[in-house]
Symmetry: C2
Subunit: 458 residues, 2 copies
């Protein structure tokens, strides 16, 4: 690409031609502030490089909370505080190991990561025959063969689903419940293909959820190349043994915190708009896309509105939620306390799908209300990437606001194609975040908060 493209200027003027002129100018101001003086990327740099992975209960969790308080203050929050909640305290406990061998053959190593919340194998590891299970139906059919074995789920992402979150939604039950399903039939451990469609071999961890009625067995995720290698070995040979050693342990719950910063509203100080991401992240990397991006998005909303001199009518709260990854205790606590105090929450917005170029908002509205914001607000946002409001809901952390108080909630929907390349793997690092893509997310979120503050959703 050498020549200049003049053809795109249509995009640039859309908002001013069709949109409400004053709002369009205000959103332009927000955008310029974020694109010229933005702190989202440098804040993310500090979080990822000085704190890094920050799983609930870890020392880094407390460092991240300190970072959150400081960064919210610097962004211009008028009031900053910690909201205590008990969080699970799972530790990996050392390097995860796995290898397999075909009877009479050489040992081959597998690149694995123990799943969050899983139990460890003990110091001697587990050696057992492995059974390849491609899907749930196959597990049920072969239930009599499971006893004493390691179950290996090789269920694949469906590549034909355009939104990768759909493929994740389809596959992730094997990570979440696969261990208990296998334990029900006597399996001694569980391995699963990683929840990704990436072109590398990095394993992707993430939480499992043991079902109480069955024994808790060790569980880990395998990278895609190694999953294919193992599946091939099992398909071609009767007798494949695996050695698995994980050191994971669930310790007693410990104290964690939501980190909250507020600007108090001029007209309705007791009505709250919440904007958040989650502060915890998995340990193999830096939690850059999941969900450092969401945290710095939320903080940037406050910073930009403040920097351009906008005084919100409602109180705006930025919440860096604790423990989304393996418990959701922060999101639950925030809504519970709001309900207990009888707070009026008029809107909740979350960013937890990465700092990629935005395409849409999912929002908990239907019918006329939805059509109204589509026709009025999309022309204002389209220039900055968002061209759709999808009837849906918010993310995990603002979900309880809706469930407990009926608050309309929303989530930023960025382009999803790269998300699961990084998600819960060693690749979730700052180098895989693009500064401008990240900033566009913050622009659209700040614009939506401005519009909701000014016009409401009714």
């Amino acid at each position: 690409m050498y020549r200049i493209l003049f053809t795109l200027s249509a995009f640039l003027s859309l908002a001013t031609v069709f949109g409400q002129n004053e709002d369009s100018l205000m959103i332009r101001k927000i955008a310029n502030e974020i694109l010229i003086n933005g702190k989202a990327y440098s804040n993310l740099h500090t979080l990822t490089k000085t704190v890094g992975g920050r799983l609930s209960g870890s020392p880094q969790m407390y460092k991240a909370e300190e970072w959150g308080l400081k960064t919210l203050r610097e962004a211009g929050a008028e009031k900053v505080w910690l909201q205590e909640c008990m969080v699970p305290h799972w530790i990996r406990g050392g390097k995860d190991e796995a290898k397999f061998n075909i009877a009479g053959g050489n040992e081959q190593s597998l690149d694995i990561l123990a799943l969050g919340n899983s139990v460890g194998t003990g110091p001697n590891g587990i050696t057992a025959n492995v059974i390849l299970i491609n899907n749930y139906d196959e597990l049920e059919k072969r239930k009599k063969e499971i006893k004493g074995k390691i179950v290996f789920y090789n269920y694949k992402f469906n590549p034909t689903l355009i939104e990768t979150f759909h493929a994740y939604g389809d596959a992730v039950r094997y990570r979440e419940f696969g261990a208990s399903w296998a334990a029900k039939y006597g399996a001694v451990a569980m391995l699963t293909r990683s929840m990704t469609e990436s072109v590398d071999n990095n394993p992707h961890t993430g939480a499992l959820d043991y079902i109480d009625s069955f024994p808790k067995i060790p569980a880990a995720a395998i990278g895609l190349w190694d999953s294919d290698k193992l599946a091939k070995a099992i398909t071609e040979n009767k007798d494949v043994k695996i050695f698995l050693k994980t050191n994971a342990k669930m310790l007693p719950d410990t104290i964690g915190h939501n980190v909250i910063g507020q600007i108090t509203g001029t007209d309705y100080p007791d009505e709250f708009i919440t904007v958040g991401g989650h502060l915890d992240s998995w340990d193999p990397a830096e939690g850059a896309q999941d969900d450092g991006a969401g945290c710095v998005h939320a903080i940037e909303v406050l910073r930009a509105l403040k920097a351009i001199g906008y005084r919100p009518k409602h109180s705006i709260r930025i919440v860096l939620f604790a423990n989304e990854e393996n418990g959701l205790r922060g999101g639950l606590k925030y809504a519970e306390e709001g309900k207990a105090k009888n707070e009026k929450h008029i809107f909740g917005l979350e960013s937890d799908a990465g700092g990629f170029t935005p395409r849409a908002f999912s929002i908990g509205l239907r019918g006329e209300k939805l059509e109204r914001i589509r026709s009025k607000w999309l022309p204002l946002l389209k220039e900055y990437g968002v061209y759709e409001f999808i009837a849906g809901g918010g993310g995990a952390d603002v979900g309880p606001l809706f469930e407990m108080m009926g608050t309309p909630v929303s989530e930023l929907i960025p382009d999803s194609q790269r998300y699961f390349d990084y998600h819960h793997s060693r690749n979730d690092v700052l180098a895989n975040v693009n500064k401008r893509e990240l900033e566009l997310g913050a622009i659209n979120m700040a614009a939506l908060i401005y519009l909701v503050d000014l016009y409401g959703l009714d």
Copy 2:
């Protein structure tokens, strides 16, 4: 992000609910073919890893042509040929070097790349004082200070332009014409800030265009960190000297080729639809996004239509254009020969803005014709990423089809945020291409070609 998002399913069913059902099914078939059996990424792997950078006239140019012939045949082209054209033959000639020192201070090196088409400094390099020029107006104002100096243009990308191609369009004239502007006033060499907004220090090369009336002086691009460092040094000190050594040379024109593959139409074999990208690329890297992506996009259109058994009514030609980067000889040759043979070209589609998630097509239609395809075709494409037809034109290579024959032309508009991080720099490598993003580009292009072939543009 741990929980499952159910909210996006609205996206999935849009096309079938609102679109023409048969076309929607056909496009779904195309999409599944590309997402399940796609060859775009593996073809790009071969091109980037076995050929690499492939500037006009280089040995790699010929290797790339061989790759093109072979890959088009494998994709199912019924007829494959080379179309000869003379191409410029510029060589870098060795490692580019630059350093500066403030009078009495230490030497500091600058990371540079000589600009394409530039002359070299000679084996001893050039040592001269440097003058900092922030924009064209400043050059004019300070024209009497230029003589005998090295001009350093430090014009920056405008971060507030959402489409990065606009910032490029605004800044690139310094790279294209800055050397001649400076030479007009007696400068001995030119350096320019790189055409990027990246967060690293990689220099970005690209073609310059000497204006015949002025002497040809050496010219190179500097990475952003070094540009800032140099600008600061000049601003704070009167006497900053630069040593510049480039080894570039323009050799006589040599023979190059457009690589063309065709499926002949069933109903209108003598009416042509052209789909293309350019085969040449700059030498510092692999030409993965610019424009390996466009080449494999175009080939994948043919492969997918053939694979699903679609027989086009018109003849479809895939053209891997020669020499887009520093001459456009391939694009010109293709249109000239078409015109000379009185060929009827009904549509030209280009991909030369990277293999990122698609957002739009730019297309050379206005008024009712544009509205018609907007209302009929966007509902079919939206699920796959394209939500807009922008009144505009094609890219550089299909441009001559419009200029010489009035053919309506179009270009894929992918998300642009990352493009100039890689463009013409050492970072334009396969690792910076996402497989699924690349495939979505091919899906939308194949769908558009299918629709144009079936319904035309009138």
